[in-house]
């Protein structure tokens, strides 16, 4: 394991490894989003390269490969900006190298090269090049086939995005996945909200709940008692929130979300809960439109950090009380921009995300979801819709379907491997039929490609 501290040291190492024919792997935090393991040979750990400098005149921040998403976002946020990043512990440059950034913010910030102004690399032979160099390797291109690494990214200049002081979040419950997908497409098309995502109930229940047990109860409440198939999360300014209301959607607004989050223990056992869906058969979730519903929810749930903390182990209660007393922990915008929301999803088991870029068409997504489910179910693999995020004005989307695997269970690992092979065949078949599918598997090492090349370059049809 070697820990270079600069681009020059990285270059020297790669030259040495080439001469000595030593294979190498660059690492950020140990594995990438698909869970690939480290290879044989030298491991180049880039954690020491922590450059973090702002060029506000050019709306740019330069980072070294050792900077984590949380560190970067915190620094940007302190200056009044936002950066498009992955989960808090992920190293940002590694995220780009692997896949580009996948998040609900892709709705407005795009994906892959859309988030980057420039990046500097050391090629396997030790030579240096940058993205914005005419005679350098063309990282903007995308090929729908496995690729080898172009080298090591030693620094990247990322886009800074502006924020406004009236940003808010809202969740819109939907009775069917198709309804949620249609809504997400419409919002993206109308440019309402700067982050939009259709979230599966497992995803929402996990991110709201401090314990796995509570997550299970919340999932049952949302899905079985209240009849929610998914929720569409929208982050936007006050004009976006106004538009959502004007469109007539029932909303779980920021205040209600806070009441639900801190009142989860009572939500799971509320005796009146079953009456709500019975009373809104004409207009599912119409009760959310009642003026003062959030206040009524506060009356019903008595939300407080203390109450929520009663649900965690005794030795963790004091910590949780302090943690949830912070407004950020129930602030949908903060939770999403720092990517706290998605970081709880793998709490019960490791999850293997099946990630696809494809048209935002309910029929296609439902077909794929049904086939992934049919592969997982007979093998006893836990499986759920993760999220769907519209990109490029709703012309395409990112679709994540998750398989969960217990990493300590060799049998389950074998079953998931077998299932993934079948998933690959389904994706290849549907991809050949439609010519519009891009599987994340092929995006590895192409995270700096031009978004349009990734989304729209024609794939040879079968």
């Amino acid at each position: 394991m070697v820990l270079p501290g600069s681009a020059a040291e990285v270059a020297a190492l790669l030259r040495l490894f080439q001469e000595a024919e030593i294979s190498w792997t660059a690492r950020g935090n140990g594995s990438n989003i698909l869970g690939f393991e480290l290879d044989e040979g030298a491991i180049i750990d880039l954690n020491r390269m922590r450059e973090l400098s702002f060029d506000e005149k050019n709306w740019s921040v330069r980072i070294g490969p050792g900077v984590s998403a949380f560190e970067l976002q915190r620094a940007a946020f302190a200056r009044g900006y936002r950066v498009h990043v992955a989960e808090p512990a992920a190293l940002v440059v590694a995220s780009f190298m692997c896949s580009g950034i996948l998040s609900l913010f892709a709705t407005s910030y795009g994906t892959s090269a859309e988030g980057v102004l420039d990046a500097r690399f050391v090629a396997p032979d030790g030579s240096a090049f940058s993205m914005n160099q005419k005679e350098g390797p063309n990282l903007f291109a995308f090929a729908p086939a496995p690729q080898s690494t172009p080298g090591i990214c030693v620094s990247a200049d990322l886009k800074l995005h502006p924020m406004t002081d009236d940003e808010e979040g809202a969740l819109i419950p939907c009775s069917t996945l198709a309804e949620g997908l249609e809504l997400a497409r419409e919002l993206a098309q109308r440019r309402i909200g700067f982050a939009v995502g259709v979230l599966g109930i497992e995803y929402v229940a996990s991110f709201m709940s401090p314990t796995q047990e509570l997550a299970g109860e919340v999932k049952s409440v949302l899905a079985d008692s209240l009849g929610m198939a998914c929720l569409v999360l929208v982050l936007g300014d006050s004009y976006a929130m106004g538009s959502l209301k004007q469109m007539g959607h029932p909303l779980i607004d920021q205040r209600l979300f806070r009441a639900l989050s801190l009142g989860l223990p009572d939500l799971a056992s509320a005796p009146w809960l079953d009456l709500l869906p019975q009373l809104s058969q004409d207009e599912p979730f119409g009760y959310l439109k009642a003026e003062g519903f959030a206040e009524l929810a506060e009356t019903a749930l008595a939300p407080s950090p203390e109450r929520l903390a009663q649900k965690v182990d005794p030795e963790l209660r004091e910590f949780h009380e302090k943690l949830y007393a912070r407004p950020e922990l129930t602030d949908l915008v903060w939770l999403n921009m720092f990517r706290i929301t998605s970081s709880r999803i793998g709490r019960e088991k490791h999850f293997f995300p099946i990630l696809l870029y494809l048209p935002l068409e309910a029929g296609l997504i439902e077909e794929l979801g049904a086939r992934f489910q049919a592969i997982a179910k007979p093998r006893g693999i836990k499986h759920e819709v993760g999220f769907v995020t519209p990109i490029d004005a709703g012309k395409r989307c990112i679709f994540e379907y998750d398989y969960y695997v217990d990493q300590c269970d060799a049998g389950e690992i074998a079953r998931v491997r077998e299932a993934i092979a079948e998933v690959a065949a389904v994706i290849d078949e549907v991809g050949a039929r439609t010519g519009t599918l891009r599987w994340m598997r092929y995006v590895l090492y192409q995270g700096f490609c031009r978004m349009e090349n990734l989304l729209y370059t024609e794939v040879p049809r079968g």
């Binding site: 008692s225 009146w272 079953d274 004409d282 009760y287 009642a290 003026e291 003062g292 009356t299």
Partner: protein, 383 residues
Amino acid sequence: MTRFVLTGATGFLGSHLMAELLRDGHTVVALGRGSGESGLKERIARQLAWFGLDSEGDRVHCVEAELLKPRLGLGQAAYRELCSHPATIVHLASDTRFAPANRAASLATNVESLAAVLDFARDSAAPFFHYVSTAYVAPADCSLCREEPVAHGSFANIYEETKARAELQVAQRCRELGLPYSILRPSIVYGDCRTGRSNSFTALYHHVKALELIRGIYLNDLASQGGAKSRASGIALGPDGTLKLPLRIFLPRKGHLNLIPIDFFVAAATRIIAAPRPAAIYHLTSRTPSTMEELALFCEAFLGIAGIEIRYGEPPASLRPNPAEALFGKLIEPYRPYLSDTRSFDSTNLTAVAPGIAPPPLSYPIFERCMRYAVEVNWAHTR
């Protein structure tokens, strides 16, 4: 004994009519769909069990059919077999939701499905076709509604509109086919006034359910959480345990709610079916509709609350509804037009065919019996 084909036999009115026909010794063919993971047969079996008619199952034939498809979605052989036994058809299947968002579904279920059902009536040489509609196909501004074909007018919701369109279609198509038909127009139906039993808890029950939900939230707040939120909305427990729950309901004008018990519907419908008169329209309605003030008092007495106030006219611009009022207002929104309805219904045709059968006025004992049953069965919900 007669053979009947029923659509909507798993619904509120349909299941009660099916049960009565079976009790009278008739044979019933139920046309319909499964729901969720339950097939039609299972759904019908559940209904029969509810009526204590498990042993009558051999006189019920279930046919999984799709009313929106030609030949009811059946294969040729199955359709031919179904048509080979002429039977009186009673068409009750209906989408009873009111919201405009359900327009497409309502049109499909209430209007478009008639094509296949009437084709089936023709192909099976049905001796009679009974269509169950609603009294509220009459225009809202009609003071005395006659048992006559629907007139043009405005409708309170998509349900009324589609039922009116369906009536016109039934009449026209049956005339073309030379098929005798009748139209039954019940008003708002609640449970059995003698036993309180019911297997559906909408309409009248909806308001009580909404009040129970709100009451539960505030009682819990007062009992377990100190009641600060309740007090802020003027909600408190009286010394006798009554919950003071200020709830102002603004209605455009004084009206009445025309309510009939399911046992009256069944008695009237079976008389009509037993002596069918071609092209007759029947109002199955109450001659003594309930006022909102009466119903508010019944709700208060049953739920142990006080403070429901019916006010007429526009709410003042300065009105700031408390959260309980706002939620109650939202939950009863679909039914709001009926709370100030002024229509009265002539029932000459019904009186002629079923003299001596009339619904009782909704008294507090009947109300209490019905609501007590609803609460006992947890509004038919199992979690």
